[in-house]
Subunit: 369 residues, 4 copies
């Protein structure tokens, strides 16, 4: 059973290889009546697309999304939404060297082992190019969520050892992460950019962390016992290329706290809403959102394709030296920000629709229908 | 759509509340012909059951598993396996206080919000008691995996700030984690036990980390692009009560390495098998296992039910002081070790069966069938 | 991937063999707040249970259902509902003869081929005994549907060549199908009973048809394009033991009509509701319910276990004569009536919950929330 | 939860409206290594495409399939296969009349009720145009099945009251159903063609039955208890537009037979293979294929869009007369033949892959791996 589909009510299924003719997907389960704007969609795409700044790959894809179905008179129709992006700047010739050997820590070896073949051009299916469709699909789900006031904000919180304060919150701040490295602290952002440029000049790559916060997340999202909101977010994040870790709220740091320190006391605000005075839980308790902002952190390794010579095995199993060419990101973090937001939107939209069915049924049972 | 089912080929669906009549589940998709031993099954249960040592809850459940179906003449029959555990030491009377208010950082508030009701006895469905069935089900899957030589070993690698060296590996060592705190370093284990006893005496709780290693994991497990092995492991772990974080291989530490440091170089061993000289990847590359040992780390917060007085809201929304009674774990880490192993087995067994279909089909297509 | 689960939002997963310790299941996705009565549940069970009349098997099972979870203070809690029925009158000794050979047209041969083993006692998993859990689960879903006024009525419309008029409708009639053969025409029912008794005396079996009608089925159930309501009903019915055919509305008879005869003209009634003057569609158009009563017919073959001598192969593949013993139904139709109703309820409840999510989302999008 | 996906291991998800820009789909779960020919694929498409003969709609679509992914060097790669067909002869202007009223027995009313909107052009998503993608996807699955020798042959067995003998079998015969009406009896075919031409001249439509036979179907396909092979075939067929009935083997006729007549006696042939002397079961016993040819019959109503004036309601709910224009099939049976074959292939391929996992696991457990 393939794993090319995500979600249970709102689902996204994707196809496509990095240097094939096109990539695409089907977003399904979106309710009818949501107004759609091609311009807004394209703005989302531009945040992820390659070639957007001096610190990203020089591959130049416009990532123009064709919406092939599911829209009627400018609104979603409730039918599956077919999405397509033509690959326009694919250059399979760059990859002949790679076809001959397994790049260390890349998907080359595992795909070859599993399928008995692999498409070396740009990593084929294993390329992060596939995530462009996730961003396109998430646009529609974000529009749905925005009608409940839900705001999803991800940003780069560390590159190598350059790290934003862990207690930093973008929610309510005037900060903008819309610089090229997408770190909301502009002086730290500058240092990060310099560090990435240095790594690029060395043919090396850097990792880092992305923090995501969700404002106005309704209480009640997440399902006992396996589909906890935090569990589905963890899966969503680890499904992104190069992701190696996830923590909800205080996460790994919580392991060094006592229960009496970690527990988030409940209070009421002036409007009678239930809040907690701290948010170590990151907005999820018992696997279900509690109405506080969601907050989680995602770890990305330095990407494996480096331009330095590396020792490896060729496809005949002989030791050989590999020196990759081609166009690559020295650090995927800035471009991963919209992907983290996209996967967050897919998880929240899915869980929100799953919950809606229950809400409606409860209204009926209680005679309000 | 409820989230009470896990897996795609081998699936586990569970039911039951902490202080209800029984908990149970259905394990499905297990192939026929696997020899089953009730004694072995019970040994697995004993590792998780409450009341097993001085550092766990005093609730005394034998956790005797009834296998109601799916076994014929001592072997699995390929039919769904019905599993049942009677609750014998349930004491609903202990929970009257809890029914009146929301325990901070517990599932009380979120369940009430979502369902408009909640079963206060032992946390109802939100209790970790449910995980007993996961351990029972995993026994059958471990038996299947063991025929491929797969060995799953989890252990406590930190309690509060008492931490095992990150490079420690239990694979190949003579260490046993079969002490009451399940840390393989016996002198560290003793310190951990003392720390937990201290926390209990204070009415407080502690968190920590569990590391899991898998030996002889076949290459090829995991599916592009959403059902990466690491993504499904992340979800599996975050679905365990009190889990707040997951990292694969070098995880969060990888964010501070360069690509040239982090990449795992390929080599061949004497038998011609492909290995990597380091294992920062934790055995997963491109979302698919590469034949190296799996290694990942899981963060557990200090559990929320403490016996110290806490300020909270009662069910009418008034500020009140809560002082929990009842029998609780001061630190869930030791009992979570078999649960981490169980969820790992469910993920690996599921992916292994999913892959088997492909392997068999490839044999046919290549004319070997 | 096993096929022991049914439904997408409201799901039923079952386990258990005919002569094992117990059969059971987990019903999931039922919203909280539905009042439950054990007596009502047992009445549903009594309509299906063996030994209920002179024309059914003499196996005597009380089919007392234990509800192990998912109920709190007499109402559903939104948690999975664990269901269990002990097998009390299992007699494995009756089946030694059957273990040695393959009963013609029974599941013996196919199960042996697929699993490499089979449980001969009562047919093991292939026995219709499993459907008792479907009836138990459907009770909860019927209670949910009844809050929308949905009424499901199935009845025996033919036994062998004794057939009720095809245009007969039980909806609105005073007829009761609560006689032992469950045919609402009492004089026809008597003939059917006589015919079944004759078949039993000959050691033979009879088939027939069940018609099911659903009154007050809301318009809008069913999903394009694969999960048409008629498609899911077809699957549900063909999943019942001995079922060999399904037709929606005019079904096979429609193939002999012209479009101008078959089309159901739309009109409005006095209250402004949209109706059709005929109902050849059986209440489903384009795969979605149109608000008219659902009507469909289900074909059941004569069950394969007969007490007459038959030629067959034994398990070594030698021709041999088989003379079955044991307790069997000469005609399953009367007992299949509650099963048809149960599967109908599972399909409708599932689709209704799936639709609820959309309804709620539409309310939000249109600003009514 | 939408219903736009079919299958569990091999899955097809489709999108697209009749007169939108394109229709498409993603076929997933197909193993790597299958040789693919664009010419063969196109031949399959030509059997379904509109405008192929004088008895089909005059809409002229070439139905040229673009394969956007999942193929590497002429073979399947194991990655999802993206399929796309541009709509080239869409004429939305033909449908303005239809937008104003509900065509009797069409999906107009039910889609409007469910989604609060509908795309009137060609029926939007409810159009049988969607099935073109099913045929395209099935090509790949047929290629897989053909490696096991599986041959799927569907043909028109009745139009109105012109009916082929029920005992007719195309397997082993020299008959070709490759005439324009796809009935293998050439003299009956001529009568059918004349009848269809007559119906067209009257602005009316005709229904009929398609019989499907599968030769060399391996024993062992189908899963207890809900995913019986017959149940999944029933769902597959009822998911086709205008389908109103399904029967497996002797089907409805079996209801008039006694068990002693209906049971299929087992014998061995010269090669030691297990056969049955009759095949009333249609190749499925206990929900699992028994190695005999599959045989089932599918009922299609006369399609609802007729060119005769009909009384109906307009979208304001007023009685009005509707006189449809546009290009329509007077009888969908001939074009439905490849669709029936396609859905059969999807069911068999899915079940075959599901079973492969079990076969491979059994080999391991028995030490053959």
């Amino acid at each position: 059973m393939s794993g090319n589909i995500f979600g249970k009510y709102i689902t996204l299924k994707t196809f496509g290889e990095s240097h094939g003719e096109a990539i695409g997907g089907i977003l399904d389960g979106v309710p009818p009546g949501i107004e759609i704007s091609s311009e807004e969609l394209q703005q989302e795409m531009d945040r992820r697309r390659p070639g957007q700044s001096k610190i990203t790959t020089s591959r130049n894809e416009k990532d123009q999304v064709q919406i092939l179905s599911g829209i009627y008179q400018g609104k979603t129709s409730g039918m599956p939404i077919g999405l397509l992006i033509q690959n326009t700047d694919a250059r399979p010739r760059d990859y002949s060297e790679i076809a001959k050997s397994f790049r260390p820590s890349h998907a080359d070896y595992t795909y070859s082992t599993k399928y008995g073949m692999r498409d070396p051009a740009g990593g084929g299916r294993s390329s992060a190019r596939e995530t462009a469709i996730r961003v396109a699909a998430a646009y529609f789900v974000k529009k749905l969520l925005s009608q409940k006031g839900v705001v999803i904000r991800a940003y780069v919180s560390s590159i190598a050892n350059l790290e934003l304060d862990r207690d930093y919150s973008i929610i309510g701040s005037q900060d903008s992460a819309e610089n090229i490295v997408r770190c909301p602290d502009s002086s730290l952002a500058e240092k990060m950019i310099n560090l990435i440029e240095l790594a690029r000049s060395e043919g090396d790559t850097l990792g880092g962390c992305i923090t995501c916060e969700v404002f106005n997340c309704p209480a009640g999202l997440g399902e006992p016992v396996f589909d906890k909101l935090s569990a589905d977010l963890a899966k969503a994040m680890l499904s992104i290329n190069a992701c190696k870790g996830f923590e909800m709220g205080s996460g790994f740091a919580s392991t060094q706290m006592k229960g009496s320190e970690h527990n988030d006391p409940f209070v009421k605000d002036g409007q009678g809403r239930v809040l907690t005075t701290t948010n170590h839980s990151g907005g999820v308790q018992g696997g279900i959102s509690n109405g506080m902002p969601l907050k989680f952190r995602v770890a990305f390794k330095p990407v494996s394709t480096i331009l330095k010579p590396q020792q490896t095995l060729d496809s005949e199993g002989r030791l050989s030296e590999l020196k990759a060419k081609g166009r690559h990101d020295p650090c995927v973090l800035p471009r991963a920000v919209p992907i983290v937001e996209a996967m967050t939107a897919l998880v929240l939209g899915d869980h929100w629709m799953r919950w809606n069915a229950l809400v409606k049924a409860k209204e009926l049972i209680q005679g309000q229908d």
